[in-house]
Amino acid sequence: MTTPSAPALRVTGLNVALAGSRVPVVSDVTFEVPRGMVFGLVGESGSGKSTVARALLGYARRGLEIVAGQVAVDGIDLLRLPPAELRSARGRTAAYIAQDPASALNPGLRIGRQLMESLAAHQGSSRTDDPRSWIQQVLREVKLEPSRALLRAYPHQLSGGQQQRVIIAMAFMHRPTVIVLDEPTTGLDVTTQRHVLETVNELCRTHGVATIYVSHDLGVVAHMSQMAAVMYAGRVIESGPSAEIFGTPRHPYTARLLSSLPSYSRATALAGIPGHVPAPGSQPPGCAFEPRCLISVPDCRLAMPDLLPVAGDNHFARCILADQAASAQPRRAEFREQAQARSSPAGALLTVRQVSAFYGPKQVLHDLSLEVSEHECLAIVGESGSGKSTLARCLVGLHTAYTGELTFRGAPLPAGIHRRDNEVARAIQFIFQNPHSSLNPRRTIGQIMSQPVQQFSALPRREQDQAIAAALLDVALEPSAYLGRYPQELSGGEAQRIAIARALLAGPNLLICDEVTSSLDASVQAVVVETLRELQRSRGLAMIFITHNVALVRSIATTVLVMHNGVVVERGAVSDVVGRPAARYTAQLIEDGARYAVDDEPADRPVLPREGQA
């Protein structure tokens, strides 16, 4: 049944649409993956990459349906199989690894039991003769010691990385032909991510599995895959060898996606992609990227270009200007970190002395001290569990279980927002990680924005409205288009900019940003970070920027503090800490992150001031 020449996986003309209305969500996706190859599928939210990933197993999320195309595994079209055969093919010939390992495992069953069940799901397989030894072998393959303790553990007793390894073991258990990994490391820290990815890579090569790696992370895909496809608005807009796609991108979207990534090696301004992906059903008649493209010509609006071969080996792009794509990358200003760092004659704005914070009996911060001066942007970097968010919550007054001393403008800062006065509450503003959860879904943007103005100013109504409109313009949002809308009608990037505008309306002196871009796509992250950086400089704000992304620090901060397990491991100027880390932990953090970074820009790119973007 296996034709010798057939690739392990061949997808032809795959189309997925909204059930009923037939509005296309994924259109004309075609690619093939031979055995042993890792194929990357990249795109931002709304690109349709996860829809494609699920369709590879003949599955469509509720509300969607696969309307056309073939998904041939070893020459057999999964989409034409009767339900019973499709069910038996899933897991045995095509396996799927989901994003969140914790929700893929049953919390009430022991690991050993779940592995046995997964093995028993496909009776008659030769592996079921000696299930125990087979499970032990599979676990060793994913670098887990098949001890009794592991097999008797419940999922919550394992770390995120271990859970993901168990899932990978289940996926590889039946030696499938195809494995689909859908954002498998998104929730993991960089170091864990590196270990998991290495394991997957090794397994795919040794067992000759065709692997589809779906991710929004360009860097990881560039390093993991040999071939890749970039998706935008439900279509593949560029495909080819990974080295070529990410080295010499031929589609303006790919080029600009690369420009929006922060760099580990240089301090550059970030060039985001303003605008948003068109929704299904509201796509322009021409190229879907045309409205956001910097090099578009009138012809781009006529029709969606075909996926055409471009210079290079097996490299395709869906753009009529493919040869000019390089010029679509906006110039990125490289700035000198030293010049940016002021000698801070203004003195300390905020002083933190020997703060230890607790959650119940658990101590999460240990004798932490820091200082933020006026106009300074301090980055706090750390992995999850480092205590960086707890520190932020202590500073703004949301967490009160701490000892130590906080001083703001020379006066002691009481613990808890209720014990602080209005003036201090105004001067220290906080921006939350998740923009949608920080905006009340039952209030319009106008109502949300009027809260800080009414609370902190005595302006007459007319001037309040002016202030609100001005704040929206400061974050590059048109007031008339947003004031009457509700938060759930906004994209993540828009919502986060509303949250920033709300904080600005209070007229703060110190702005604390807690992982404000971690839930955003790279192109949107770049826009938000640039907005913040320009506001910080033009208004002379002091800012504490909390992040897990070391590269991002270079693009925004002047000084940095690295935290690990509630302790400061290193602090100093950004260029020193990131360029020449002194602590082993910092060096490891940078190395693990930089391993998967795409550094596309030639070093001799001219250093020019960046033009303001709308």
Partner: protein
């Protein structure tokens, strides 16, 4: 001066096309939308079809009744005839007329009791969740105390001591709902008060009262509506039950509960005098309960019967989202 630090408009005023005052304060009438959506589901239609005729009968009936509900018009327990379609009752009054005039009091008193129960219960639940710690403990233990009495026993005691006053009956039935409503709303609020927008309001140092009314309660519309519907059903049953055992509406006033009780004796002679009021209470409670079910299913998204709302932001559009 707090004003100085505010970002005032620059010297050249930028165009502000929509002044804030032009935006309606509440464009999003979520509860009316849920009601309208629920009315279009199959369950909702069935519920309304059962409930609406009974409500109409109760409120329009008094004006259309062929006889006085208290007039002795024939022999006791006369079987149905052309002039008395449902026959007569124990005191030879027209059953149809008593049926048509006997509902409005029950409905009004049930609604009032529901309002008392939901308002008091929700207030306790929200405050317990928002203030937490000792406030939570005190409020919820107080509620447990009420819960310790079998529903209504306390109320019955009061009514039998003080007498069957309308306000007392409403209060007794209303209070008996408080524990359940408080528990449900507390657990729903626990979820809301942990959300970041509540923290954001606290960071603005808004008074707790405004955080609760402005940020927490608007996000409790769904559980509040479901509880109201459910409690209304129970109120009707309790009210009719109270009348039945003689502690509710007092004779000679007509009332469905009273009718069932006083006509039991003549079940063989004229069964309609009992069956008609019993059926009408059944239709009403099944109807309200079914419609409440529809509300719950629409609001939690189990059943989708929504008119296309304004499209969400393109990148967050459902269906195209990668995750």
């Amino acid at each position: 001066m707090a004003n100085e630090a505010l970002p005032l408009p620059p010297a050249t005023p930028r165009p502000v096309t929509v002044p804030l005052a032009d935006i309606p304060a509440t464009r999003n009438r979520q509860w009316t939308r849920i009601l309208a959506d629920a009315a279009r589901t199959r369950r909702g239609i069935v519920g309304l079809a059962l409930m609406v005729p009974v409500v109409l009968l109760a409120f329009v009936g008094p004006f259309l009744a062929p006889h006085s509900p208290t007039a002795f018009v024939s022999l006791p327990f006369a079987p149905p005839s052309s002039s008395f379609p449902l026959g007569t009752d124990v005191l030879s009054r027209d059953v149809l007329s008593r049926l048509m005039t006997g509902g409005w009091r029950l409905l009004l008193m049930s609604s009032a009791a529901t309002a008392v129960g939901v308002i008091v219960g929700a207030a306790i639940g929200v405050c317990a969740a928002y203030y937490g710690r000792s406030a939570d403990a005190v409020l919820m233990r107080g509620v447990d105390l009420v819960l310790a009495f079998p529903q209504l026993v306390f109320g019955l005691l009061l009514v039998s001591v003080i007498g069957p006053k309308v306000w007392l009956i409403i209060l007794a039935v209303g209070i008996s709902h408080v524990p359940q409503v408080a528990r449900v709303i507390r657990s729903a609020s626990l979820d809301v008060v942990e959300r970041d927008f509540v923290k954001a309001a606290q960071l603005l140092r808004l008074p707790s009262r405004r955080v609760i009314t402005g940020e927490v309660i608007p996000n409790l519309v769904t559980p509040l509506m479901v509880e109201t519907g459910l409690r209304l059903t129970f109120s009707i049953i309790l009210m009719a039950g109270l009348s039945f055992i003689g502690l509710g509406v007092q004779p000679p006033a007509s009332d469905w509960g009273v009718m069932i009780n006083e006509n039991r004796l003549g079940l063989v002679a004229n069964p309609w005098a009992v069956i008609a009021p019993a059926c009408i209470i059944l239709l009403l409670t099944v109807g309200t309960n079914t419609f409440t079910d529809a509300i719950g299913r629409v609001a939690t998204g189990v059943e989708r019967r929504r008119r296309p709302r304004r499209l969400a932001a393109p990148t967050a559009a459902p269906g195209a989202d990668g995750r």
